[in-house]
Amino acid sequence: MSGVGDAPGDGEVVLRAEGVGMRFGGFAALSGVDLTVRAGERLGLIGPNGSGKSTFTNCLAGVYPGHEGAFAFRGERLGKLSPHERARRGLARTFQLPRPFRGLTVIENIRVPLAYAGRHEATETRAMACLEGVDLAGKAHRLPRELTQVELRRLELARATALDPVLLIADEAMAGLSHAEVDQILALLFRLNEAGTTIIMIEHVMRAVTEFSQRLAVLVAGRKVADGAPREVLAMPAVEEAYLGR
């Protein structure tokens, strides 16, 4: 196993996970996961289906307040903070399947985070700027059901970025998209990262993960089995076995 997985660069530690675990009934979906993420980093979190990636995301986002271990976000213990309190502190996540507010128009979807958690005034121009960032301004007054799959993914990202996140967890934002569409979303994530957002990408599309990540962490059966530079991690026998020897 590689070292503690210190990030490239030596920026401020944004997120520190210590011994994070989660049980459902008797089944340990996640156990003893340590992870450190530094400001501005692009981290890929990979693993086979059911390896605990989504469980980790939900623990971090505050969906499972009863998890084991602890998270510190920008030096603050998250404890039992509810999801919205974490969102307001700059911890944003997207959902695996886009979950727009179906009864609200595209721009109203963006207004929700702006009104409740944004650190700027929730103006029309600001909402519009968020939509322009994902190239949805032209559809501001449509309903989500009128959008295509990739547009829904972009709306999902826009809603997360409207929080002005310090850390964004993109949970399989590219599943089921075409080659060109994956490139669109990747470009968006790169742009966000350049603007200073730390990003954890959870992804099955390996091309996207390897292109995007500066560092890879691998979960297998709820445990972290590798954490380090992508090329080294992918060459590790344990990782190969997890992916090929299933």
Partner: protein
């Protein structure tokens, strides 16, 4: 929460929309005009019919704040309504207070009841909330039936005061004017909630609570605010009831008619805006008021049931939705 949210509404407003102040003013003017028109008519039956219809406007509007905006179905509207009515009886009997302070007391009782129900059940899925409100209705009715101070199962008589407040010609006229005021206030409150940050948050959690939380919406707190406002307003709707009929007993005060109407009216009118419950209540309550004169009260309620089922199947966005072109 709600107090702090209101200022944020202004920058959110679309350019052409009427502001909150203007809407409140318009509601007040409409209420004055209605009172003046009824006063000109001057018939006791007109007062009674108008009061009957307007109590449903308040009830349906109140129900819709939780049921329509937040998507939590309250089957126990009758419980809140009756809680308001019995607050009037109890407070009136205990302290000898007239109607207006009783209405304020009813708002407190209904709000507390709504908050309590919310605290107990709102962490659960929507269906559980609906069932819990049904149970609340049974529990409250049992308490009232066993509470001799307010008449128990025999019911209680409420005597209308002899002296009628100034500009009104009869107590019926005064009661009707109070109801007009309550209805205008209820509609204005609903519209303010709907167009404010609170309304936006409720609409978000109605569609997807987990996504709303992830977007920073404090869903539990918002739901509690909504149950409290809704509960308080439903109790207010029931507070004048004892004076309307001069007699009140548990079976009719907790009657299913209030529960079904409170749901049917917003759904028929349309749940997504303040206009829906208003339209639905005026239509359905007028229909019932007209029908009680001509056909039996059972057949009359059957109409409500059938209209409800037909509307939820055929026009899921209600009458207002039909006019807006199904968005």
């Amino acid at each position: 929460m709600s107090g702090a949210t209101l200022p944020a509404a202004a920058p959110l407003a679309a350019p052409r929309r009427m502001g909150h102040g203007a809407f409140w003013l318009a509601s007040a003017l409409a209420a004055l005009a209605l009172v003046a028109a009824l006063r000109a008519l001057g018939s006791e039956y007109a007062y009674f019919a108008a009061t009957f219809v307007l109590q449903y406007v308040v009830l349906a509007t109140a129900w819709n704040i939780l049921g329509g905006y937040a998507g939590y179905v309250n089957f126990g509207a009758a419980a809140f309504f009756a809680a308001g009515a019995y607050t009037t009886v109890a407070v009136g009997k205990a302290f000898g207070l007239p109607l207006l302070p009783c209405i304020a007391a009813a708002a407190l009782v209904g709000g507390a009841l709504g908050l309590g129900t919310g605290v107990l059940t709102l962490r659960l899925r929507g269906a559980y909330f609906a069932i819990a409100t049904l149970c609340l209705s049974v529990v409250l009715q049992t308490l009232v039936v066993n509470w001799d101070f307010v008449g128990g199962s025999r019911g209680a008589y409420v005597v209308r005061p002899r002296e009628v407040p100034w500009p009104f010609d009869s107590y019926g006229g005064f009661l009707c004017a109070v109801m007009v005021g309550l209805a205008a206030g209820a509609v204005a409150i609903a519209r303010t909630v709907e167009k404010s940050r609170l309304g936006l948050g409720l609409a978000a959690l109605r569609d997807d609570e987990a996504a709303a939380e992830a977007a920073g919406v404090p869903t539990l707190r918002l739901k509690l605010v909504a149950t409290t406002i809704s509960g308080a307003m439903m109790a207010v709707a029931g507070a004048p009831l004892p004076y309307l009929g001069s007699y009140i007993e548990p079976n009719s005060a907790f009657g299913l008619a209030y529960g079904v109407n409170a749901i049917a009216m917003p759904l028929i009118g349309g749940t997504s805006s303040w206009a829906g419950p208003l339209v639905g209540a005026v239509l359905l309550a007028s229909l019932q008021q007209a029908a009680t004169v001509t056909i039996s009260s059972a057949a009359n309620l059957l109409i409500v049931g059938v209209v409800l089922v037909v509307f939820v199947c055929a026009a899921p966005h209600g009458i207002v939705g039909l006019f807006r072109g199904q968005r």
